[in-house]
């Protein structure tokens, strides 16, 4: 496959996954901002979270000065001038798909193109008219639909592999950042054995719901959500599809199937990451400190992304 084609496929699915993850972030912050804040401000702090996680808060402040609920939401979701907005991600995904529309199926292309046309319509009417929760649901739905169209129609060849590679790299990064941010928000109670406060409960359950893992959690632990179990679930459980371990396992397998000798550095990195997670217990992570551990792991994912780039996407 052409390196440029592989690159466009990879970024198409990365941007789509990113758009979905941004919607998940937004969803959780929006619903938490509506809760009583126990003297923690007026919910604006919570609404600013997604921007903090994605490193776009400074851009926002530069443009809009102060925190303002409606402007925050617009900036994060629909602002075409913000390259990190959901709108811009969908635009970038659609541009990549457009460049390789000959390599994806008509079902996939029409799906991503329709999504792009629709979000432009939504941007015209504005978020408050469309409805915040409805918008987040819609983004997730479009992402599900695209994934379904991909699974259901595209040949199991390298194109398929690069599409999935983009998805899991992006998802791994997102899960790490979300967990880190919520851990920080849960504050002092995060380390408590029972995490028995209402505040921590809402933080953790919102995170689990945002990552569609609430049902998995209750089934596995049959317990109110707390730091230890949530971290174990989202970092180490291979059977939870948005967990870090599930992502590294997929990435490791996909890279092993890609042709050519030039992929060795990326393959080695992925295998190392996967092995490390496989043979780590949650107590070891907590001993090191969750925040410290996450801070160490996030650059590894970025390094893997770079290795994929130099191995396949800029090759020859």
């Amino acid at each position: 496959m052409l390196s440029r084609t592989a690159s466009d496929l990879y970024w198409m699915s990365r941007y789509l996954e990113r758009a979905e993850n941004l919607a998940r972030m937004l969803d959780i912050s929006y619903s938490l901002s509506l809760m009583p804040q126990d003297g923690r401000g007026d919910g604006l702090h919570e609404l600013a979270m997604p921007l903090l996680i994605t490193g776009t808060l400074d851009d926002y402040l530069e443009r809009h000065g102060e925190l303002h609920a409606e402007r925050l939401l617009h900036f994060f979701a629909l602002d075409a001038a913000n390259p990190a907005s959901i709108y811009s991600c969908l635009g970038a995904a659609r541009a990549s798909a457009h460049a390789v529309r000959g390599r994806i199926t008509a079902d996939m292309w029409e799906n991503i193109n329709a999504t792009w046309l629709e979000i432009r319509g939504i941007a015209e009417q504005g978020l408050s008219r469309y409805g915040m929760s409805r918008f987040c649901e819609w983004i997730k739905e479009r992402s599900h639909l695209f994934r379904g169209a991909s699974y259901g129609t595209i040949m199991r060849n390298d194109a398929f592999r690069f599409i999935r590679l983009g998805t899991f790299i992006e998802r791994a990064d997102n899960t790490l950042r979300l967990l880190d941010a919520r851990y920080e928000m849960a504050g002092d109670q995060a380390e408590a054995v029972s995490d028995g406060t209402a505040h921590a409960y809402y933080q953790w359950s919102a995170l689990l719901r945002a990552l569609s893992s609430f049902e998995a959690y209750t089934e596995i632990y049959r317990d109110a959500p707390g730091a230890r179990h949530v971290a174990e679930l989202l970092l180490l459980r291979a059977d939870v599809p948005r967990s870090l371990r599930a992502c590294t396992e997929e990435i490791d397998q996909i890279l092993a199937q890609l042709p050519g000798a030039n992929g060795r550095p990326a393959q080695r990195l992925a295998a190392e990451m996967d092995a490390r997670l496989r043979y780590t217990g949650i107590h070891e992570i907590l001993e090191e400190g969750l925040h410290a551990w996450l801070t160490e792991f996030i650059p590894l994912v970025r390094q893997l992304g770079n290795a994929i780039h130099s191995s396949y996407l800029e090759a020859a």
Partner: protein, 469 residues
Amino acid sequence: MIRTYFDEMYDAGGQVRPHYREFARWLAETPDELLAQRRREADLLFHRAGITFTLYGDEQGTERLIPFDTIPRSIPASEWRVVERGCIQRVKALNMFLADLYHEQRIIKAGIIPAEQVLANEQYQLAMQGLDLHRDIYSHISGVDLVRDGDGTYYVLEDNLRTPSGVSYMLEDRKMMMRLFPELFAAQRIAPIDHYPNLLLDTLKSSSPIDNPSVVVLTPGRFNSAFFEHAFLAREMGVELVEGADLFVRDDKVFMRTTDGPKAVDVIYRRLDDAFLDPLAFNPESMLGVPGLLSSYRSGNVVLANAIGTGVADDKSVYPFVTDMIRFYLDEEPILKNVPTWQCRNPSELSHVLANLPELVVKETQGSGGYGMLVGPAATAAEIEAFRARIIAKPHAYIAQPTLSLSTCPTFVENGIAPRHIDLRPFVLSGRETRVVPGGLTRVALREGSLVVNSSQGGGTKDTWVVED
């Protein structure tokens, strides 16, 4: 001046022509709301599928839909067979002309075409002189633009031998019609066209002496107006769609950069003009091409379809000689007529043109896409005078033709159905044999009275049927 138009559907007495009877019956029986709803559905589907083109000169690079009209253009099979033979004959002669021009130049020596007409032409490529091409084919993919005058006679308006486009619309229009109105296809025998990509791939493969060569489509990129078509054809043929930067030349051979290392390329279906192909040989500013491509091509290591330098044969100043070419190379009478043409480079013809501007169509010899032309009867006096000055300043850059009345076809317009002018572009494939899929692309001028069908000038398209009679 009153003009009589030939209407494809109705004869002079207002009766439906035989090959449209089935359709007319269906149209009368189908409720208006249903038709309107299907037209909206078609718009939505085209939009979703992203079947669009990009308009040049539009800063935002907006993607536009080409308006699609749901009333088909229908041609009786017996009539089509003549058109088909005429197109094949014409393209064969044009390919022989190109081979001759870049070798012995017998046609010049025979005094049929003046040497300066071709050798001084910008489109004549010195790099092609003496180069032998497989099967002597230069234009593998050709588009022949046809129009019909008041009495229904077919005329060739121009030949397109460089990178003719529009075939994806031909195929998509058919797909759309079959989806919206399957009952029409059940009721009569309409010749299928879906196998075009197959024939194209076969043509491209047969352009190389290698067994099972590796074929790619070379596009200028996603911002090109015809990008949709490039991607469409690559996908339909199952070959790579490459941009210049995806290719490189090493040891005079062409390779593409893949995730698995370099892969050899044997045939390039290029949708890039000559001038952009190779920055080392042509336009050094071009970022779209492949450095070293010309040298590889001249060594016979890669096939370009179409060949470099075909533009000299579809130039409007060479057009008047095509009928003579057919007689000269094939020793046959031309089946399709040329539109009578005055060449402004000849002083006697120039004075005739200048004296009759309000009646004529004047075109730039290098122009295409409906840009830079004057339609005398539709122009204001000021426009005519402005054009007169341009012709006098550069007479060799213009030709003139009588204003053909162009046949009409019923078309959905704002207030129901009305006749609109149309043309026809069949696509001719030259390989082991010369073939045409039945019909072609019908373009329609949607503005009332307009004779300009180009999509860049507000033209639309129709499905084109060859109906068994």
